[in-house]
Symmetry: C2
Subunit: 333 residues, 2 copies
């Protein structure tokens, strides 16, 4: 299999991306890693590169502050767009980028292309849960306004992804809502509920925001706006609590000594709550696999992105989603 990495995207690129790519190429000799970026920047970092790591030159770079749609349209020779084109042209089975999120979603839509039958691709990161399993939440920001049918497509795609990539049999799919009863919610969730009931998935009904962290489901379906509110609230609360704890725990010598004993536990919890640790987020609903790695990805995160992409390719994720979606479309005619 062949995996393209946007070598110029991310806060620590290209050092992190090149090192991650080299490590991945060494670990998986059956995989060809295509490093896309400017040869003058990349080649000096690629001494001792294994044979299955190849360089694909791209003249330009999309920057973090670039306006997404314009950047993708104009910078046709940027590392991100070139990597997307490799996937579109079937010269790569997947692409990974830690670059500008908006630009990557645009690259997915305009360069890689939507899967037939999918109206809106979805960004699907893992939200960490207290039981360590994590929940795949989608959509987390690709589309702010969703229709009930979009939520149904998210549910189907998320369920297949969790089954194929995480190996979870019959993943529990929940609908993010304000109460557990079927009739609760806003117009969107009330209309989506019966659509989710009809899908060939393990739909467990509505899930309240307070139960997400305790692992109420394996796949959480929501529109991009609500998903953002959820994720940012989790992040914000955890961050605020850690900062208060830090303040309290350094208030006196007595507290400092006690806190030192508990530090490993606290550090463990902090790491568990950090969603950046939990691998890349797939953009589901495209005709090829695109994985968004966090902007602050180090080489380990890039390598994890490759691991994730390998699992998805091996399990023929994109084909499975496509079959389910087209099956549903035939049925509904």
């Amino acid at each position: 299999m062949r995996i393209a990495i946007d070598a110029m995207g991310g806060d620590f690129a290209p050092d992190s991306t090149v090192k991650g790519a080299m490590d991945a190429a060494r670990e998986w000799s059956d995989t060809q890693i295509i490093l896309v970026g400017h040869q003058d920047r990349l080649r000096p970092l690629m001494t001792d590169a294994p044979a299955n790591l190849i360089l694909h030159h791209a003249e330009d770079v999309i920057e973090a502050e670039d306006e997404p749609v314009r950047a993708v349209r104009r910078k046709k020779d940027s590392s991100m767009v070139v990597a997307g084109r490799l996937v579109h042209d079937k010269e790569a089975d997947a692409m990974i980028s830690a670059g500008n999120t908006g630009a990557l979603m645009t690259t997915g839509l305009l360069v890689v292309g939507r899967m037939e039958g999918i109206e809106r691709p979805a960004l699907a990161p893992i939200i960490p849960t207290m039981d360590g399993r994590g929940v795949l939440a989608l959509d987390l920001g690709a589309n702010m306004d969703a229709k009930p049918e979009h939520l149904a497509q998210y549910a189907l795609m998320g369920s297949i992804y969790r089954e194929k990539v995480a190996g979870i049999a019959k993943p529990r799919v929940g609908l993010l809502n304000v109460g557990t009863e079927a009739k609760k919610g806003n117009e969107l969730t009330k209309a989506a509920y019966p659509l989710l009931e009809e899908l060939p998935i393990n739909f467990i009904g509505n899930v309240e925001a307070r139960d997400v962290l305790t692992g109420a489901c394996d796949v959480l379906v929501c529109d991009g706006f609500a998903g953002n509110i959820l994720l940012k609230s989790l992040e914000g609360t955890a961050g605020a609590m850690f900062s208060v704890l830090k303040q309290e725990f350094t208030k006196s010598l007595k507290n400092k000594l006690a806190a030192a004993v508990l530090m490993p536990s606290l550090r463990g919890m902090k790491q568990m709550m950090d969603y950046k640790q939990h691998g890349g987020a797939p953009l589901l609903g495209l005709s090829g696999l695109v994985v968004k790695s966090h902007g602050s990805s180090d080489s380990e995160a890039i390598k994890n992105g490759v691991r994730q992409a390998r699992l998805a390719i091996e399990s023929r994720l994109t084909e499975s989603i496509s079959q389910e979606i087209s099956g549903k479309r035939v049925e509904s005619i």
Copy 2:
């Protein structure tokens, strides 16, 4: 002033409500407290009641599990509906209830009545923040689907409430959104943004969910669905973190000893994060004042509800909101 208390509503009623009412009546001798409920239940608890505490008999009770609209329509002699009628008939200046939230919102709409010019009343609890000020968030669940004009009315009502009741000059009003830039958001927030800019309030723009807890604004405007996701995420994250901390801190004798030293700090943080501690939530946009106390209110919480209602009555809150709203309506004709 006269404040009606639904004596039969809440998990610990009528003991908690009667004790809270007695304490309030003793503290504020200029206030007549009208305790509404069944005389057979209340009178035995009212020995030594001060003269400004009076009993208003109501035959029936709305239970926590009653279907709200049906209960309010059928149980016309319930303590909650009778208290609402006292407000409607100007026999009380405010009512407080710790009973069934849905039924109280229905009582507000059908019995007390909407304020002229307000399409949707809003439930406006205080979400605790790390700086101790708290943020008044509205709407937190009265209406699941809001229109841009509703958000504008929430903003105006919330701003007036914070100014009048909390004494905050020029309260900072923020719009809950997925990013701080003006053009961010879903259709609802994008359409609401320019409406909020035109209001005579201190609109500070969009506020992200992660910044709510650090006190980014004094009033947070959102639709009921997003507000619920926000509040339940905060609750859920805090709860989950405390439970992990508890687990970790009791894992070994060493940890237990260290944790004992830090317990006061942890308990303080837990209390700070508990939004039940932060008084009742007004239902804004009615022609009279209605305060929802938490279902698990003790006598102290009921007394705090009275304190809050007194401040609102003294500052002529309802009249102020009504004037602003009708002023705006005249302008917009």
